[in-house]
């Protein structure tokens, strides 16, 4: 009985929490990642980029994506024109996603759009690199 209650509670809370949390500052993100043992995902974006909008408004809003994400990743959104982007995060276009450990080493990078299923695959793969 207790097990069932706990199961339902976690299930409900994970559904409720299925929204992406974006951390505005990269340094803060590293701190949080350190504390919660998560991977930092930096999304490089710019204005007038329909692919970026697709990723933030469609793929990253997907419940399944958000759930896996929130459990293992921290999200940071950087505008390549407005924000300071570290030099190591090389890019020639947007959206570009960098996955980094809390100690700032780069685990993986992916460019362009991906649909929900493929993005999930990506997250699963990156998760194992931790």
């Amino acid at each position: 009985m207790i097990k069932k209650i706990i199961l339902i509670a976690t299930f409900m809370s994970s559904i409720l929490l299925a929204e992406m949390n974006w951390i505005p500052d990269l340094e803060d993100a590293y701190d949080v990642a350190e504390k919660e043992n998560k991977i930092v995902m930096v999304m490089l974006s710019q204005e007038g980029c329909p692919g970026c909008e697709y990723m933030t408004d469609v793929v990253l809003k997907d419940d399944d994506v958000a759930k896996i994400f929130n459990r293992n990743f921290i999200a940071v959104y950087l505008d390549i024109h407005e924000d300071q982007v570290p030099l190591e995060l090389k890019h020639f276009g947007t959206p570009t996603f960098y996955f980094l450990k809390a100690d700032e080493t780069i685990l993986d990078v992916t460019r362009g759009t991906k649909n929900e299923l493929d993005f999930l695959d990506k997250l699963e793969n990156v998760k194992t690199l931790k």
């Binding site: 329909p50 970026c52 020639f92 362009g112």
Partner: protein
Amino acid sequence: MKILLKIYIIMMVSVGFAQSGDFLMPDKAFQPYAKVNHQAQIEAGVVLGKSIYLYEDKLSVSIVDSKDVSILQTISPESLAHDGDMVFFNSADFLLTLKKASGVTGLKDVVVKITYQGCSEEGLCYEPSEKSYSLVVDSSKLGVGDSSEAFPATRNASNEEKSQTDSIADTIKSGNVFIILLTFFGFGLLLAMTPCVFPMIPIISGLIISQGKGLTTKKAFALSLTYVLAMAVAYTIAGVLAGLFGANLQAALQTPWVVYGFSFVFVALAFSMFGFYELKLPDRFVTKISSTGGNSSGYVGVAIMGFLSALIVGPCVAAPLAGALVYIGQTGDAFLGGMALFSMSIGMGVPLIVVGVSAGKFMPRPGEWMTMVTAIFGVMMLGVAIWMLEKIVDSSITMILYSVLGIGFALFLGVFEKKGHFLQHSVAMILFIYSVSLFIAFLAGSTSMTKPLAFLNAQTLASSTQTRVEAKDAEFAVVKSIAELDALLEENKGKKIMLDFSADWCAACKELEEITFADATVKAKMNEFVLIRADVTENGDDEKALSKKYGVFGPPAILFFDKDLNVRKAKTIIGFTPPEEFLTHLNNL
């Protein structure tokens, strides 16, 4: 746990495919260039990689530090609508005509700067870039112009990807300003000879002259000129307004029903010329305005008369004038509009000045030829109506329309009758022959206006008829929503299914259709598949859901289903693929 597992399984069963993730590096995606041609013009632009497009509002070609040499006129490429933006595919090519400041001689260094930003249809947007080129221009080949007086940018139909644009329409559309002004001047002259305006000329002339006291030729000329200039001011204002409003309508003019509407307006104007009905201001206004003009005297009075005469607008003038304004509205160019209407009013005023100065000696007599002029106007109106349809309607349809118009007019000119002037006969006959050849071309499936009978060329006969016949074979069932698609998929379960995501505004899709799908061997192979096309042109909620479900960010995308209606992710094609590659791909399924 079970619930979560079920959800995950459903997700796995639903479709998705891998985006290739291999994007062109910026230096392959965008290849800017700038060079000087033999006429000392600058050809500059950006060549684009596969599936790459540039935003129109982020693209600019300019001259840095244009003190000695600057831009006289820019001919810009034609853009396409894509997801709410105006963009260029394949390449964006500009032609800059230059001018020099007075006193400039010899070879001059010119720095051309190109700035641009674009994206890949496969889901990546590149950063804005700019490139500068140092070129050398021979200033002796340039005209002198005040650097503040640049002609406005005009459009060039070079990137037309829908139908073949024949060279006649090109000349009109390409906006060679001088030719347009000359045309409008001629237009004005013709207008002065329409049955309602022409007889008025001596009367108006008399009225003008009676305004001034004492009658020297110089004074008569001055008075007539004042009248004409005042009239010109009124028409010019109309032209500028047409251009201004037109500029806002540019986007609207892309939509089919607006084009049909304008086309209809021209047809209605044409029928007014043919005499089915009259277009004019209500008589109340006409008398009111004429009486206002009559009260003042001298130059001022004449000027007022001139200005108001433009407003009175007799029945014959109303139709062509409205047509001219609509045409200007289409170009969206207020400056051009003002200048063109000014030329037109000068054209209209020339006979008046001639009469005023010559005191009636040089006027040809009114006669039946005036109905001819009105008829010519009517035919021109219909021609413009057809020309406007070319944007949205298949070129074979516009071809048959031109053909019918030509034949009708030739018959009107009495091509088969014995009587009539020799010149009229020749024109009628030539027109008749050309129109008939267009008709034959239409029946043969050719769509070229300048070379309608090219299909008779022996070498092209075999292959062109072959591709023509086979072009009918690649039939796709069209769907626009998930429901429609699912129904078709269920119906055809167990067979090889190919799903093509396509849209009217997608250039690479057109290429696929015209090059790859039209290839004979590819077509034969495609017959083994059930062909479904997902038409996402409208990009409404249904289309968006459909695209999202299959992970299609932008067309073209071709997906293949296996016997269990699963998408074979690894076999998905994104973007244009040439026939041989596509055939190999199909054979490897």
